[in-house]
C-alpha cells in the first residue's frame, strides 16, 4: 500500500529542490544580535485535535496556527502587558497554557528534549497513570541548524527507545542564519538519520501545503497507535534574512529568485481557486 512514507513518494533529489520558499511575513526579528535567536523551539499543543506541537523557528507563526489570538501575539512582540506573556517573553518565548503551546526557545536544539519530555508525559499518563483518553502527540519543529546539535541525536535515540508519541519536523531551509547546511553537514539529507535510530525518516516538499499535511497525518497516526516517533524533513526556503540583524549577503540571489517563484501560500490559493474549493472573495475575507 502506497503511504505517505513509501519510497516512491519522495525521490532522493539533489539539493536544492525545486520547491517554493516559505514566506513568513510575521518573522519579527529579535532585538538581540544575530548570535541569538537561531533555532527557537516552542511546543504547540492543540487542544482541539489533541496535538502537541513543539516548534523550532518562527514561534509566532506556530503560535498563530495553535489558535493564540494574533492580537495577543503582536502585543507580546511589542512588549506590552496585554501580550500573551505580559511582555515578559517576547518574540522568542511565546507560551500559552490555554492553547497548549509549551513555548519557544532561543537555544538551538533546546526545544527538542522539551518536546520529547512532553511526549514522554503523554505516554506516561496513558500507560502508568491510566488516563486512557490521553492520546496527545507532540510535534517538535526545528531547523536544519539544530540537526547537527547533540541534543537532537540524544532525543532521536530516547524517543525511539521508548517509542514516544512524537514527530520530529525539520524545516530545512538550507541556511542556519548564515551557515549553509551543505557546508555544515557531513551527510546533508537529514531524513536519512531517522533509520539510524530506528524510526522512519521521511522527506517532503515543505512548500506544498497538501503534501505536508498528508505526511503529517500519517506520522501523527503512527504516534497515536504507539508505533513511536517519525522524523519528517520538510524542504523549504527562507525569503529574507533570519532576522533584522542578518545582513543576508551570503545567499546567491539566483537561488533566492528561484525559490521566490514558488510561494506555498500563493500556490495553495491557486490550487483552491483552480479546483473551485474557494473563491477570491472567501480568501479575501480570511
Amino acid at each position: 500500500m502506497a503511504t505517505a512514507f513509501s519510497p516512491s513518494k519522495f525521490a532522493a533529489q539533489p539539493f536544492p529542490l525545486n520547491t517554493t520558499s516559505q514566506n513568513n511575513p510575521l518573522t519579527i526579528p529579535t532585538t538581540a544580535s544575530a548570535f541569538l535567536g537561531s533555532t527557537r523551539k516552542p511546543i504547540l499543543l492543540s487542544s482541539s485535535s489533541n496535538l502537541n506541537l513543539r516548534r523550532g523557528s518562527l514561534t509566532v507563526v506556530k503560535a498563530l496556527s495553535k489558535g493564540i489570538p494574533a492580537r495577543a501575539i503582536l502585543s507580546e512582540l511589542l512588549g506590552k502587558a496585554t501580550g500573551c506573556c505580559r511582555g515578559q517573553g517576547g518574540s522568542m518565548h511565546i507560551f500559552s497554557r490555554e492553547h497548549n503551546m509549551l513555548g519557544g526557545f532561543a537555544f538551538i536544539g533546546e526545544g527538542i528534549p522539551i518536546g520529547t519530555g512532553a511526549a514522554f508525559t503523554s505516554k506516561y499518563k496513558r500507560e502508568v497513570l491510566k488516563e486512557a483518553d490521553c492520546d496527545h502527540v507532540t510535534l517538535a519543529f526545528f531547523g536544519d541548524g539544530a540537526c547537527n546539535n547533540g541534543q537532537f541525536y540524544e532525543c532521536l535515540n530516547m524517543a525511539a527507545l521508548w517509542k514516544l508519541p512524537i514527530v520530529f519536523v525539520v524545516e530545512n531551509n538550507l541556511w542556519a542564519i548564515g551557515m549553509s547546511h551543505l557546508r555544515a553537514t557531513s551527510v546533508p539529507p537529514i531524513y536519512k538519520k531517522g533509520p539510524a535510530f530506528g524510526m522512519p525518516g521521511v522527506h517532503v516538499d515543505g512548500m506544498d501545503v497538501l503534501k505536508v499535511r498528508e505526511v503529517a497525518k500519517e506520522a501523527i497516526g503512527r504516534a497515536r497507535r504507539g508505533e513511536g516517533p517519525t522524523l519528517v524533513e520538510c524542504e523549504t526556503y527562507r525569503f529574507r534574512g533570519h532576522s533584522l540583524a542578518d545582513p543576508d549577503k551570503l545567499r546567491d540571489p539566483a537561488e533566492k529568485a528561484h525559490y521566490a517563484a514558488r510561494d506555498p501560500i500563493t500556490a495553495l490559493k491557486k490550487y483552491l481557486i483552480d479546483n473551485s474549493l474557494a473563491s477570491e472573495a472567501d480568501l479575501k475575507a480570511i
Binding site: 511546543i43 507560551f95 526557545f105 519530555g117 511526549a119 541534543q151
Partner: protein, 352 residues
C-alpha cells in the same frame, strides 16, 4: 586528620545537635525515605536519571526504589545529560513531577541549558502560565580523590539564577525535610548533596521520622548558639564547624543557598559583631561573597571586624590526597580565621 575530625564531630553532634535522640539514621537513607514517601503521596512523581534503576544510583541513593515503584517510575536513561534533563523539564511542563539525578553536579554542566533556560526562566517568560515542578539532585563539591573534573561545587552557579531554588542539606534531618520540600515545591529546585556525607549517620528525633516532616525553604538553622562570632556554612562544611573551640561561635547551617536567609544571618551578626563565612567552592564570587555583601548592606555598623571568607583554594582540585586536603578548608583554617576576626592574631593584611 579529617577522619579524626569527623569522628569527634559525630560524637559532638550526638550530644549537641538534637535534644531528643531516638534513632540513628544515615544521611543517604534519609534522602531515600523522602523519595519513597513522596512517591507514596503524589501519584505523578517519577524519577529518572542514568543508571538510577538497576545500578541503584551511583551512590545507591535510589536503592530499593526500583523494586518498590517499578521501572516506569524509576527510569534508567542513557548517559545523555542534556537529553534526559530536557526530557525531565518537558515532562514537568506537561504535568509530571520529575526528580532528575545527576551522578555528580559536575555533569549538570552538560545539561545546564535546560536547568537555567528551560526550567528556571520559564515561569517568568510565560508570565506564570508554565510551572516547572522539577528537582535536580545529586552529589556536589569535593569528594575523595576524584580529581578536578569531578570535584567542583556548583552552589553559586545555580544560586545566582533567578527562578531557581538551591538547597544544600547537612545532616539527615536536613536531607529528609528539604528534599520533601523540594519535591513539593512548584518551581525548579537544585538539591546539592554531598558524597562524603552519604555514609554518615546522624541522630534524628521522632518528629523527623514522621511522614509529614518537611522543612521550609529559605530558612537557615542555627546549629549552635554563640556570642563571639558568627560562622556560616553549608553541607559538609557545617560538619567541620562544630569542631571549633576556644571561641564561642554561633554556627549557622545555611540549608538554603537561594533564597538565602539574610534575616537570620544578619540577626546573628548583629548579636556577635563578627562574621566568618565558610564554603568548599572556589573563593571568587562565592557564597561567602554574597553573604558578606548582604551583611555590609544591612548590618555594617554592627561589624567590629572585617568579614573573613574561608573557601576552597582557587585552583582546580588536585588529585594527590595531600594536595586535595590543602585545597579544601580544614578546621585549622577556620580556627585561624575566627581568631583573626576576634583580633586575637595579626590580620592578614599586616602579614602580606
Amino acid at each position: 586528620m579529617l577522619a579524626i575530625a569527623r569522628q569527634r564531630m559525630l560524637g559532638q553532634s550526638f550530644k549537641k545537635i538534637l535534644p531528643a535522640v531516638s534513632v540513628l539514621r544515615s544521611y543517604s537513607s534519609a534522602a531515600k525515605q523522602v523519595i519513597f514517601f513522596t512517591f507514596f503521596i503524589l501519584a505523578h512523581n517519577l524519577m529518572h536519571t542514568d543508571m538510577v534503576g538497576e545500578y541503584q544510583g551511583a551512590y545507591k541513593i535510589t536503592k530499593g526504589l526500583l523494586e518498590k515503584y517499578g521501572p516506569e517510575r524509576v527510569l534508567d536513561t542513557p548517559i545523555t545529560e542534556a537529553g534526559f534533563t530536557g526530557i525531565g523539564v518537558g515532562a514537568a511542563y506537561y504535568g509530571l513531577k520529575p526528580v532528575v539525578e545527576f551522578m555528580t553536579f559536575n555533569f549538570s554542566m552538560q545539561a545546564i541549558d535546560h536547568i537555567i533556560n528551560s526550567a528556571a526562566k520559564s515561569n517568568y517568560m510565560s508570565a506564570g502560565q508554565i510551572s516547572v515542578p522539577i528537582v535536580f539532585r545529586g552529589p556536589n563539591g569535593a569528594a575523595a580523590g576524584v580529581g578536578a573534573q569531578h570535584s567542583q561545587c556548583y552552589a553559586v552557579w545555580y544560586a545566582s539564577c533567578p527562578g531557581l531554588k538551591v538547597l544544600s542539606p547537612y545532616n539527615s534531618e536536613d536531607a529528609r525535610g528539604l528534599l520533601k520540600a523540594a519535591i513539593r515545591d512548584p518551581d525548579p529546585v537544585v538539591f546539592l548533596e554531598n558524597e562524603l556525607l552519604y555514609g554518615e549517620s546522624f541522630p534524628v528525633s521522632d518528629e523527623v521520622l514522621d511522614s509529614s516532616f518537611c522543612l521550609p525553604i529559605g530558612k537557615a538553622k542555627i546549629e549552635r548558639e554563640g556570642k563571639d562570632a558568627t560562622i556560616t556554612a553549608f553541607s559538609k562544611m557545617a560538619a567541620e564547624m562544630l569542631e571549633k573551640d576556644g571561641i564561642c561561635a554561633e554556627v549557622i547551617n545555611l540549608r538554603s543557598i537561594r533564597p538565602l536567609d539574610r534575616a537570620t544571618i544578619n540577626a546573628s551578626v548583629r548579636k556577635t559583631n563578627r562574621l566568618i563565612t565558610v564554603e568548599e567552592g572556589f573563593p571568587q564570587h562565592g557564597v561567602g561573597a554574597e553573604i558578606c555583601a548582604s551583611v555590609v548592606e544591612e548590618s555594617f555598623s554592627y561589624l567590629d571586624a572585617p568579614v573573613e571568607r574561608i573557601a576552597g583554594a582557587d585552583v582546580p582540585m588536585p588529585y594527590a590526597a595531600n594536595l586535595e586536603r590543602m585545597a579544601v578548608p580544614q578546621v585549622e583554617d577556620i580556627v585561624r580565621a575566627a581568631k583573626r576576626a576576634c583580633y586575637r592574631s595579626v590580620p592578614l593584611a599586616a602579614t602580606a
